[in-house]
């Protein structure tokens, strides 16, 4: 599903190249649950951003679903966002002016899903995540764990084939974190959604089935779990 070849990312500063990523080559298949781990500043987030096409690599090639997406025009990229990729953020990033219901509905509106279909999908997600009672609340009326549930529901609404999560539990207490990770595992196993997450926590990484250890921009280890 994802094929990275010799991905490099550096920032040139006064002629000196500051490498963030060096010669990253890896393949991620459909249905995998990959955790990217490493110390602060190792380049985890940059790698995830490149996979999510939020940043472009300085060098190397990237194929997504068999298509070269190394540098993509806005139109193509947005089509991929609408149909294939769901993002989950550490700080949830729900839109403050929208209710829970509207936040989940937003991607569907952009994908131009019909209204009855929309309603049933949202009802389904609310039900599944047990947040039906919260649907008319605004994000600042929810706890962090609840906000992240909404964030995941939003990412799932468009029925993506892959979810990219940047420290999804970084702001959460451990009980809530456990809940979120269990949810991820369930989504991966039952619905076959590919998940790539960046995490600091060894415990969270154990929920997946593969860990990429990164240090100083280089993939040091690629181990299978469970």
């Amino acid at each position: 599903m994802i094929q990275l070849n010799n991905i490099e990312k550096y920032y040139a500063n006064k002629g000196i190249k500051n490498y963030v990523l060096r010669l990253v080559t890896t393949t991620i298949k459909q249905g995998e649950f990959v955790s990217i781990m490493g110390p602060s500043g190792a380049g985890k987030s940059t790698l995830l951003n490149i996979i999510g096409m939020l940043e472009e690599p300085t060098y190397g090639s990237y194929e997504f679903l068999g298509e070269d997406v190394t540098s993509l025009n806005e139109r193509k990229r947005i089509e991929l966002y609408r149909n294939h990729i769901g993002f989950v953020f550490q700080a949830y990033h729900l839109i403050d002016e929208m209710t829970v219901y509207e936040n989940i509905e937003a991607p569907l509106l952009y994908k131009k899903v019909g209204s009855s279909e929309r309603a049933s999908r949202i009802a389904d997600l609310l039900d599944r995540f047990n947040i039906v009672a919260k649907k008319d609340l605004f994000p600042n009326q929810l706890s962090g764990g609840q906000q992240q549930l909404v964030g995941i529901a939003r990412a799932l609404a468009a029925q993506p084939s892959i979810i990219l999560a940047d420290e999804p539990t970084g702001n959460l207490q451990s009980a809530q974190a456990e809940e979120i990770m269990t949810l991820f595992k369930k989504l991966n196993q039952e619905d076959g959604i590919t998940i790539i997450q960046v995490t600091h926590s060894e415990k969270n990484a154990q929920y997946g089935n593969r860990i990429l250890h990164i240090a100083d921009g280089v993939v040091k280890e690629d181990v299978a779990v469970g």
Partner: protein, 807 residues
């Protein structure tokens, strides 16, 4: 999706109530000023557009130097009545030509008497020949355009006047008795038609159109003239240029012939660059090009400029606030981008938001207009309305246009900034906007303040000039002086003199409120000089209370005063001789020459606005060399009990002229009228500057709030490091005060140039004072410091723990 965007827009408006209010309120104020101006412009532009047939109607203008204050050639509306026939006979396209009494400007109306009722003054009574309604396509409610003026001594009323006089428009066949001056025996006119009031104003306006027969006559002798306005209806003229060329040729030929008959030399009259001229101009251009006066466009130009400025200032505020506020929406943009939203969709969304705000301001502005329109109308002496406007449709189209322009101007930049946020940066939480936005925002703040400070300086200087004018020595005593609007009649004057408390009764052609200048060329010691001549009665100069500089005033005891003596004013004396008393000059009248002896010099006295210098003037009582007279009967009272005496004067008048109401004005009021136009202008500037200053302060307030918010972390760190509250306030103030200071430096030269230009319009003016500049600087700095400090104090008093934990 549109619905959702609208919802988001409304929610974020509610969330930031204060800023939304500032944004919308500010824009509404700017729009109100602009739309008021637009209403006025529309009103002026609507002149003579009440019928499509008016496009074939033209005004005839003759080039000559009569009635011109500077004695130069001008294209005048007031023509020799023979021009009507000239056009009718020589221009094949002329379907009809009509002569209408010229608007002389010093008659306020005629006395109209219906049966035995009390006489009433009716304004706008015009005299015309029988073709008037063949040229002007008025709609007849009673009678018909073909026959209405067929018979002499007929009159056509406008519906409004008919209703006012009779209470109905069914007035055909009734008679009016019209008195044009106070001892006019009166003319009985039969009403032969009633026309509908046109929806838009007319440059040839009237309330009643009479055919007394005066306008039918053409003087027999070539040396006699009757002056009137001439209008013609032409048959589909495509090219007025060609027509005007043939008119000029016809006119030149005619003038040559006519001058021969009058025993004058063509080459003598048309020398030194003077040329004969006759042309037609389309009726729609008449109102735009008044002879001798500034046209409304020229008069309005500063106002148009200011109202556009105000609109720009309010849009700037809007842009500034929206970009500053955009930080709050950055997350939304980032999230939407990764959810798969196109940039143009984002731009559209934010444009919808600014459209929403401008829509609300537009509604607010319509309400504001309804509120201020009565005051505005009163102030500018117009009858404007918004909803009842005949051009409501045009207005609405203009409003929609304005709405789109404002939305685009105000919304485009912020939406562009917003939609350009890089999602990675935004979602990581570091979205300080770049230096570029800051420069632009600061630039806009400076621009706003330049406008406001310029206004403040202008007000200061204008105020000084106004004080200077209202306290200026006029050269005559305006208290206890009354001017009755009538010409001098010795027997009536004698009756008034008998009233105790009346000191002098006199007449002059030159007094404030009604000055009539007769240019005359005198020869003094072989030199030719242009002077202004004023005919006065014996007592006129003492009754005005002028001051004598040399020699004496006229008096009955000097027999010579009714023969050939004159008095000069200072301006004239300066032209002639430092010590002119006892010397004499001559004037030439055809072959004859008259000699006048100068017996006195008086101090200049003001008889027009302060924008005009007092003309070099000769005052004379004698009939030698011709006299002139206008409707001025001066009454000098020697008591302050004016009301009591005027009652007695009134009753004398009623006995003498029962069919004509008396009109008079105290000179104090006349002087107030002279200052009025200027005061009106200054009031407007004051109003505009209050608006502009408050808009700028609102903008500054909102912007400082955001800066304070944005620098919360910096403030917290500094506090932890030991900065005092005052130091923090200073820190936040500094950058804004620098901007205001820069704005001051820029506005000084601008204000200097603009105000200098305004001052130059006055012949009597103050020197440019320095202190308004200093005051404007101090005021602007203090007020902005206070404004910023409100926010800075809040930031300084905040608990640093919150700000630092926030990460």
């Amino acid at each position: 999706m549109f619905k959702l965007n609208l919802k988001i827009a409304l929610r974020s408006l509610f969330k930031n109530k204060v800023y939304a209010a500032i944004n919308i309120g500010g824009l509404a104020i700017g729009l109100t000023a602009f739309i008021l101006m637009l209403l006025y412009v529309n009103h002026e532009e609507s002149y003579d557009t009440w019928s499509p047939q008016l496009k074939d109607v033209y005004q005839v203008r003759e080039k000559h130097s009569f009635f011109s204050p500077d004695n130069e050639d001008h294209w005048q509306e007031i023509n020799d009545s023979r021009m009507a026939n000239l056009v009718r006979e020589n221009i094949p396209q002329a379907l009809a030509v009509t002569r209408v009494t010229a608007d002389w400007g010093f008659s306020s109306g005629y006395s109209v008497k219906i049966a035995h009722a009390d006489p009433v003054m009716v304004t706008g009574m015009k005299d015309a020949d029988s073709s008037f309604f063949q040229v002007f396509p008025y709609e007849f409610l009673q009678g018909d355009s073909e026959s209405a003026l067929n018979a002499p001594k007929s009159v056509v009323l406008k519906e409004s006047l008919a209703r006012k006089l009779f209470g109905t428009e069914k007035v055909l066949g009734k008679t009016l008795k019209v008195l044009m001056w106070r001892n006019d025996p009166g003319t009985d006119l039969t009403i032969t038609g009633v026309v509908a009031d046109p929806v838009t104003p007319q440059s040839v306006g009237f309330n009643a159109l009479m055919r007394t027969g005066e306008e039918d006559k053409v003087p027999e002798s070539a040396g006699n003239f009757h002056y009137c306005q001439i209008y013609t209806k032409l048959n589909q003229v495509a090219d007025t240029g060609a027509l005007n060329q043939s008119l000029l040729k016809i006119y030149t030929d005619y003038q040559k012939k006519s001058l021969v008959q009058r025993k004058l030399q063509y080459n003598e009259i048309y020398k030194n660059g003077k040329t004969p001229g006759l042309k037609v101009i389309p009726l729609k251009d008449v109102h735009l090009n008044p002879p001798f006066k500034l046209s409304w466009v020229e008069k309005l130009r500063p106002v148009i400029g200011i109202s556009i400025f105000l609109l720009v200032v309010s849009i700037i505020n809007f842009v500034n606030l929206a970009t500053a506020q955009s930080v709050q929406r950055a997350k939304e943009v980032g999230v939407k981008k990764v959810l798969g939203v196109y940039k143009r969709e984002l731009i559209a969304q934010f444009l919808v938001e600014s459209a929403l705000q401008s829509m609300i301001s537009l509604f607010l502005c319509v309400v504001l207009i309804e509120v201020v329109l009565p005051t505005f109308n009163h102030h500018f002496n117009v009858q404007l309305s918004f909803w009842l406007n005949p051009q409501l449709k045009t207005m609405l189209i203009q409003l929609i246009g304005l709405f789109s322009v404002v939305t685009l101007l105000a919304g485009f930049y912020p939406s562009w900034v917003l939609s350009n946020y890089n999602p990675v940066a935004v979602l990581k939480g570091s979205y300080e906007s770049g230096l570029k936005g800051v420069v632009l925002r600061n630039g806009l703040v400076v621009f706003q303040f330049v406008i406001s400070i310029t206004f403040i300086i202008a007000i200061g200087i204008m105020h000084r000039q106004t004080q200077f004018m209202s306290n200026k020595d006029l050269g005559f005593e305006r208290g206890e002086l009354v001017n009755i609007k009538t010409n001098y009649d010795e027997s009536f004057a004698e009756k008034l003199r008998k009233i105790p408390g009346v000191q002098y009764v006199a007449t002059t052609t030159q007094v404030m409120g009604n000055a009539f200048n007769v240019p005359e060329e005198i020869i003094y010691k072989g030199k030719q000089l242009n002077m202004n001549t004023v005919t006065v009665s014996m007592d006129a100069l003492p009754s005005l209370g002028v001051r004598v500089l040399q020699g004496r005033l006229f008096a009955k005891t000097y027999k010579q005063d009714t023969i050939n003596t004159v008095i000069l004013n200072e301006a004239a004396a300066n032209l002639i001789d430092k010590k002119p008393v006892g010397k004499s000059y001559s004037i030439k009248d055809g072959d004859k020459s008259y000699v006048f002896q100068i017996v006195g010099v008086i101090k200049n006295y003001h008889n027009e606005g302060f924008d005009k210098a007092v003309l070099p003037t000769i005052y004379k009582v004698t009939h030698l060399g011709g006299t002139s007279s206008t409707n001025n009967l001066l009454l000098r009272l020697n008591t302050s009990n004016t009301g009591e005496i005027m009652k007695k004067v009134q009753s004398e008048w009623k006995q003498a002229y029962p069919d004509y109401p008396m009109e008079y004005k105290a000179m104090d009021d006349v002087f107030a009228d002279v200052l009025k136009e200027n005061n009106r202008f200054i009031n407007m500037i004051v109003l505009f500057s209050i608006l502009s200053v408050s808009l700028s302060l609102l903008g500054l307030f909102a912007l400082s709030t955001f800066v304070a918010k944005r620098r919360t972390k910096e403030v917290a760190v500094r506090k932890v490091l030991g900065a005092s509250n005052l130091q923090i306030i200073n820190l936040l103030n500094r950058s804004f005060l620098l901007l205001v200071l820069i704005a001051n430096l820029i506005s000084w030269p601008i204000a200097y140039i603009l105000v200098k230009k305004w001052l130059d319009g006055f012949a009597y003016r103050i020197d440019m004072p320095v202190y308004p500049f200093l005051i404007a600087t101090i005021v602007s700095l203090v007020v902005s410091a206070l404004t910023v400090s409100i926010q800075a104090r809040k930031a300084a008093n905040g608990d640093p723990v919150h700000a630092l934990k926030y990460e």
